[in-house]
Amino acid sequence: MDTEMDQIYQIDVGNLLAFNPNHRFSSAPSSREELVKECVTEGTKLVQAIADTLFNFPSTESVDGPLVQLPPPTTKLPREKHLPRPKPPTKWEEFALKKGIQKRKKDKIVYDETTDKFKRRHGYDRVNDDNDIPIIEAKASDEPGEDPFAKRLDDKKKRVDKQQKNRLQNLKSAAKAGALPSHVQLAASALPITGTKAQPKKLGKEELGDVAGLAATSTASGGKFDKKLPGEKPPKKQGKHHKYLPVVPRYGWVDEEKEQTNKVLGKLLSKHSHEILNVGKAINMYNDKKEKKKSGRSDKLKPKKDITKKKPYANKANK
């Protein structure tokens, strides 16, 4: 083979890449086919050169065929993403470093002294389970009305919330340094209305239609001639809702109007008609009406009569 040419080629076995910097293509364009042929023959030489080195590597036999260990590529190509940045130490890590606290491996099984058994540290039937405590002894500092069990739960909740807050702060500082762990995303949740914690309620389809209808009635023509958007339904029947019974009863059907009047009459003229009447309510209504009439319906509009004032010509009549 052309061993001299081998040295002149730049071969990168890791990438299966070969470069021949010395070939000069004739500037005078020969025919297309000849040019193509020339390129392919030059390419063949290069591939042969790579294959020479490749097939001479120690190969291991596998099911698919001979496997060869490729060397790492020599041509430097740009990375697609930045190098992973080191995470800034968390607040606890800084404190531990300062104090010289070493991390200690915790065992999964721990000896429980209350029951002389080995129990697991986390999970079902664990050591020091909060729910398992039957009696909490009262201390001198305890208030009489306080529930110590509820207090324990409350304390735990506070601790958990504090930890969540600390975790968030640690992640924020990591994000600032560009080293947020890949599976975590910090997102701004919905912004609350100033002052309230409540989130704005989302209106449903019907509710929106109702509101649109209400708004339409405020127009001069009551929303009748408003331009409707595509897909907007016509307004539901507006105004008073009357249900009129048919004047002429349908053949074979009961006369509904007659039934209606009979029903009312029956109730009024029945034996127990006095029981229908709510006497107390009727009396109250009557009394209210009477009082209103007495005091004058438009109290504010009419000038108040002053009883102490005497009429100017009252005595003249008695003369």
């Binding site: 890791g14 990438n15 299966l16 890449l17 070969a18 470069f19 021949n20 910097p21 070939h23 000069r24 293509f25 500037s27 040019l35 193509v36 390129c39 392919v40 030059e42 390419g43 063949t44 290069l46 591939v47 042969q48 294959a51 490749l54 097939f55 001479n56 190969s59 698919d64 065929g65 001979p66 496997l67 060869v68 260990q69 490729l70 790492p72 590529p73 041509t75 430097k76 190509l77 740009p78 990375r79 697609e80 993403k81 930045h82 190098l83 975790r167 968030l168 992640l171 924020k172 890949s182 599976h183 975590v184 995303q185 910090l186 997102a187 701004a188 949740s189 919905a190 912004l191 609350p192």
Partner: protein, 316 residues
């Protein structure tokens, strides 16, 4: 108000970890898309490029009007797509009167445009127009040989950049072990003039030769085209330096419970859990313990008692 969002499924977590920046990176994926107008040649070029890079490429079929790679504001769409699909190389094709059959090859660093090179396509021959023995057709996803010929690739800066981009484009994954029977394709790039590169794709035929190394024969199978250099944009120095940075050492895998001793050599520690021989639960196969026997016994006992009480009563 900030909240922490973590993936709720293992699959989502794995996807996120795959896309995270790592010391040793995954193979670069290619995004293939086109602009407002494409010609017949350009659309077949993009289609065949996608076929060649199947498995490591994503092809968008809709036209994108607001992508202008060489303009300052026209890259935002590209960067967004790159972020969404996790692709770091893109091939954007467009056809205008001024730049007919235009192909822009670009790379991304951290989902921002790193460098661009614009080529025009001449004398395109589709892979359907080549006739060859189907047995030697290269398999999908096989690692290719890449060959560059011509002094232009060393002397002309645009061609140098094109060489780098083409290497990145055709390289695929970086592998440690290679199966020698799976080598079946080669890309030949020849700088036929300082502004023109002839690119072709060939299948490899291995022929018997005297030694272990087989004789290589190349047969043109794939698309072949002439690339005419138009515009390019090099990465700025600072960005290039940062992108070329690589950490030298691989992450050291911690091997636990192994010590290296100068005197004794390599020592390992084995932990055996405590064997409580007295407390091992043996299967209780004794006859008296079986449930049926127990129940039978109880019945018998109660029967006896009943009869005993009866007897007692009778006797009374």
């Amino acid at each position: 108000m900030m909240e922490i969002r973590t993936p709720k499924t293992h699959k989502a977590k794995r996807v996120l970890e795959k896309r995270a920046p790592k010391l040793v990176e995954n193979g670069k994926k290619t995004l293939i898309l086109h602009g407002t107008k494409t010609s017949a040649t350009l659309s077949s070029v993009l289609m065949e490029l996608y076929r060649l890079k199947k498995g490591g490429a994503i092809k968008y079929s809709r036209r994108n009007e607001n992508i202008r790679p060489f303009e300052s504001g026209g890259e935002t769409s590209l960067e967004f797509f790159s972020q969404k699909t996790d692709c770091s190389i893109f091939a954007y094709g467009s056809h205008t009167k001024k730049r007919p059959d235009n192909l822009v090859l670009g790379r991304m660093y951290d989902h921002h445009v790193y460098d661009l090179i614009e080529v025009g396509i001449d004398n395109f021959k589709s892979l359907l127009s080549f006739s060859y023995d189907k047995k030697i057709a290269p398999h999908e996803g096989s690692k290719p040989f890449i060959c560059f010929t011509g002094e232009g690739f060393e002397n002309v800066p645009e061609l140098k950049q094109l060489k780098e981009v083409l290497t990145d484009l055709f390289r695929g994954e970086v592998v440690d072990n290679l199966n020698l029977t799976g080598l079946d394709r080669a890309y030949i790039c020849s700088a036929i003039s300082p502004t023109k590169v002839f690119l072709t794709h060939c299948a490899i035929k291995l022929k018997k030769s005297g030694s272990i190394v087989p004789r290589i024969e190349l047969v043109e199978v794939g698309p072949s085209m002439d690339l005419v250099i138009r515009r390019n944009r090099l990465p700025n120095e600072g960005l290039r330096k940062e992108a070329m940075k690589s950490s030298k050492d691989k992450p050291k895998k911690k091997v636990k419970n192994v010590d290296q001793d100068d005197v004794l050599g390599k020592r390992g520690r084995i932990f055996i859990p405590e064997q409580e021989v007295g407390k091992t639960p043996l299967p209780d196969k004794s006859k008296g313990v079986k449930r049926e026997r127990r129940e039978g016994k109880l019945k018998k006992k109660s029967k006896e008692e009943g009869s005993a009480s009866k007897k007692h009563k009778e006797s009374e």
